[in-house]
Amino acid sequence: MSSTLRRQQNKSYYVEPTKEDLFRLAFALPEGEEALGEVHAVLTLQGKQEAFSGKLYLSTSFLTFTSLDRRSCRLTLPLATVRRVEKLAPGQDGTIAGAFALSLTLFHGLRIVVQLNSLRPTNDAFCANLRTRLKASLPMMKALKPFSHTFFSEWYLSPDRELDGEAAAAKKQQDEKVGELISFDDEKGKGKEEEQREFTTEGDTGHGYHGGLGLIFKFPGDPRKLREKSKMKLWKEYLEQHGRNLTLIRYPSFTRLVLVGLPNRLRGEMWELTCGSMFLRLHNPGVYARLLKENAGRRSASTDDIEKDLHRSLPEYAAYQDKVGIDTMRRVLTAYSWSNPALGYCQAMNLITASFLIYMSEEQCFWCLTVLCDRLLPGYYSPSMYGTVLDQRVFEHLVQRCLPSIHDHFAEADVQLSVASLPWFLSLYISSLPMVFAFRIIDCFFLMGPKVLFQVGLAILKVNGPELLQTTDDGAFINVLKRYFATLGESAHPNSSDSRTRQITKFQELFVVAFREFAIITDETIASERKRFRAEVVISIETFAKRSAIRNLKDTGRLDKAQLGLAYDHFQLASLRSKEQARRPSAADALSPKPPNSTGASPRTPSSASFGGGSGPKDEEKVEERIDRKAFGRFLGDIASWARDEKLVKNGFHEHIDRQPVDHELVDRIFVYWDQSLSGALSFQDIVTGLDAVLFNDLMSNLAWLFNVHDSNHDGYLTKDEVLQVSESLLFIFRNEPGDRYLGSVSNLIQNLFEYAESTKPEENPPRSPSLGRSPDPSTGRPRANSIVSDNPHRPYLALATFRMCILADPLLEDFFESDLTNSWRLEVLIAEEKPKQPGAGGAVGGWWGGIVNAVMTDENKERLNRLADEVGKRLDIQTIEHRPSIGKLDAAAAAIEPQARDSLFSTSNRPPKQPASPEIPNPLSAAAMRMPAYPPTSNPWADASSSGSSSPNLGRHEIDVQAAASQALHRQQFVIDDVAEGDDEDYAGGEGDAELMNQVERMLVEDEAVTGKAAQSGQDLLKQDGQSLL
């Protein structure tokens, strides 16, 4: 397998995040935020004792802070919410004398003080930057007030809420307009909410804040059991002291409050806060509505799939037995599919969306889904589901490390972990656990990230350990867990004598185990584990895809297994490269804050290698990968020597071969000829059928093939135009051959073709029987006057027999059709790399360059290195570029025999006698002829190549060199892969013995001690609170 393909494949699954990406990810910042500076700082909140030491960061439109332990205190603050900044005098507000401190007054009146502890110049620069960015955020401030009205917390803490009923009702009327996207009606809401009076206070939903379907259809779970009232009280307190929605500062108690379960009415808002989708919504006003509007009425494979699932997404929840709920769900899912067509829709997104919508408005849900799919769980829902498969592999390995006895038992009994755990991860536990419990896991997932999914999964296995060790097959394994999930709300210790212990539910126990015992699972653990298995998973997915593609071919022609495999590789490489190119421009304009999706293609530019033909949904068409015309050009360039230009670039340092596919009408024609379904894109089957018709050809079949490629209407005749085009195609194929012999042959051929065609051309009404008529010739149907007919360029003119005769008259062309053409198709893996270094190629400069090349060249940077060398070479004026012939039949000496052939082409005597009469026919030769390179025999770098290998003309010495380079590169590549797989994770678990592994785990524990302690602490708090104080 070509390393190029492997690399391209890897790239299509995973792009290493940049430092900027990681920064944005750490603070849940929108795409396009740039880091602009950081300082050490101590943060205090007015009226609070605690001071947190950490780092303050500035980005384009946010100020962010994290305490040193990265979790006690965190803040992501839109600059637009900063009302006032003051520099504090030393000693003021409790800052150390001589310290540099700022006081920030926020939108909600909160005041925070940050003391900058970096060196003076750093602090000064940071403040200067901050001032600039604050100014730039002024326009956003206007939007802030209306935006803040979309938050439940805003309403909940507002003095309005305390007004008596009548005043509130009046106010309500006025506010009602705001909630346009919240599609619920009040009548219903009133009826259904009675049992929740205590929380809905004013008892309706018309306050303008965004809310979910739960406001109308009730929230799942018993509000008393969920202790909604107490929770709301605690949250009110927290929000009053620590800011709310856009200005909320996370203190340690925040984590604890989330861990005991978010209250229903605040849940949606807290989800969008903790995952960061709130900021996307703030930065992209109107985008959701626009997506819906612009795509109204459109259909796609994704919308069809969505439609199938709408009625089976949480059907037990009242809203989804109702048009209101279904329509809402449809809008969110389709909007996301349009915003990220490369992902579209994947089953499980329906469950997730249905769940989110209970707590969130459509727009909130849309952005939350965007963050989930693009950032939190990348690759989970993509067509390959690469992220899902990878995390299953990671989970399995974590089980092996953390719960070795279960892992060993499963291995022995042949129980497959993923049969249970796949839906856990894919649906955020919604499909496996009762809703109320799944939502509490989601609370933590948004707060603490994907590691939560692993921690909970491990805890489930651990808690059920004894029973799991008894299972003997997948089915029994599933059943143990099913029983467990069904009893999660029951006491974990029903027989305990202590009543408080009895009150601990299995779910609480699960949480404690997850966050205490598996606190060792950190973000870094997950990151490094993913890295470890990435390559392995890509290979397994690709191997499966390849096997299926080959298996599902209806007709494999004469291609053997190896050839089918190579054809598939080329097909895929072309497709991947096109996709990558389609992605690039959209990445370039990423700064303009418009497209909501960060990864996939932008909404209005479907990737060139589209799925399902891209021409709207055809119900019967299976989703199938196809390559378009552009990708086909690359494909052909890879496998047909004449469909690419190979330039030998000598830049004075080293030589490399630059391969570029070349576009020509011939390529168009072959594309159309191979496109059996006329869908404008080729399937793998089309490619295989096409290859079958060229790889095994003899003289006669090659002749017929080229003829048929040019016979657009399949009537067995070429028109005059097509005769010219076939000649042009031949010239195209021969364009890089040294000397003028091919040119001479083709010019003779043209002369002959026209001469013989004139004498053999069919009568005015040609026999129509051979017409296979995909597109009937427009001219044949209509009777025409004789005089017009003879001038009509669309008239049938030249038959295959005549074509054949003319070709066979020329030995050089006969040779070409006999073997050269067939040999010009090669499925071998091409590697566009440099020739093996030629000692002394660049003289003295080559020496140090060669050193660099040896030192830094890797598979990854080869291209860049070549570019660099070319650039340097150009500056030094030592770069030379030489074209490599495609056929390579003629060596320099042979080419020199007829040096005058080229002139003769333009001499009147050699011109086709009848041609000049019709001026509308362009001279096909002029342009092509000008492109013909005329190498002086001695400087032709390829000349030596063909003189030696007479038996197989296409495999000159140079080609052998390329193959050698290829195999070398392959070797090196493998080594590199091994390096990544093992070396980089060495410090983690690369060692051999179990003892070593345990040591490493120990070390991690120590490093994470603070965290572990805290998590354990909060776990206990959780028990206390959940079990007692909240009771």
Partner: protein, 272 residues
Amino acid sequence: MSAPAAAPAEAPARPVQVKLVLLGESAVGKSSVVLRFCQNDFQANKEPTIGAAFLTQRCRLEDKVIKFEIWDTAGQERFRSLSPMYYRNAQAAVVVYDVTKSASLEQAKTWVKELQRQANPNIVIALAGNKVDLVRPSSDSDEPSTPTSATSDDDEADDATATPEDDAAEGGDEEGAVAASESRRQVSREEAEEYAKECGLLFFETSAKTGEGVVEVFTEIAKKIPLDHILASTRGPGGAAGRGAGRGGPAAGGASVNLNEEESAKKDACAC
């Protein structure tokens, strides 16, 4: 129901575990077929399948008790690469398509190909064209609700399958009604049956909604599986190994079941 009277009393009927997987395009009715088989119920809107759902069902065939372990997979195309996880070690597979969607048969064919190359070599595969109620004369599809009766589920299911099947077989007498509902049909019975025969598959047309053909699918699969062989291989030597081998051998895979001969067998089928 009870075993045939002829059944000797000696067998304590240790259940034979049969792992069965359902495959096919999304929304063809896989989960509904399973629900009909296991609970004799039909619900228009049910839980979605993520990855795969797992269910078990005990049945009696002649003197043996069979415990079907059913894996009902998610049908969306992108879940496809995950499916080997579910069909590995399976002794039987039901590949479902929707008779009102021709594309779903094409999809079914790719499943069959995959199973024949990648799955357990002796796997028994049944092809089921579901939703035939949609293409039946109105008398069937107009039935207000699903046929459920508290008295005897088994008999009910059997009757439900038998009646419409006869209609279809004799056909012709109610040309008009047939023509109207048949217009929704995109896959003819003949076409699918022929394909099934070619590939050595059991073939059925089913309706999870009315129950037609559902029990038969599982009955015929049970008959075709080398139960004794499985029994022998799971624990201790079972009886009549020779017979089991004869049924399960690769040669047996070529013979498709003659649907006209199954009437007698039905009475013994699946006393669930």
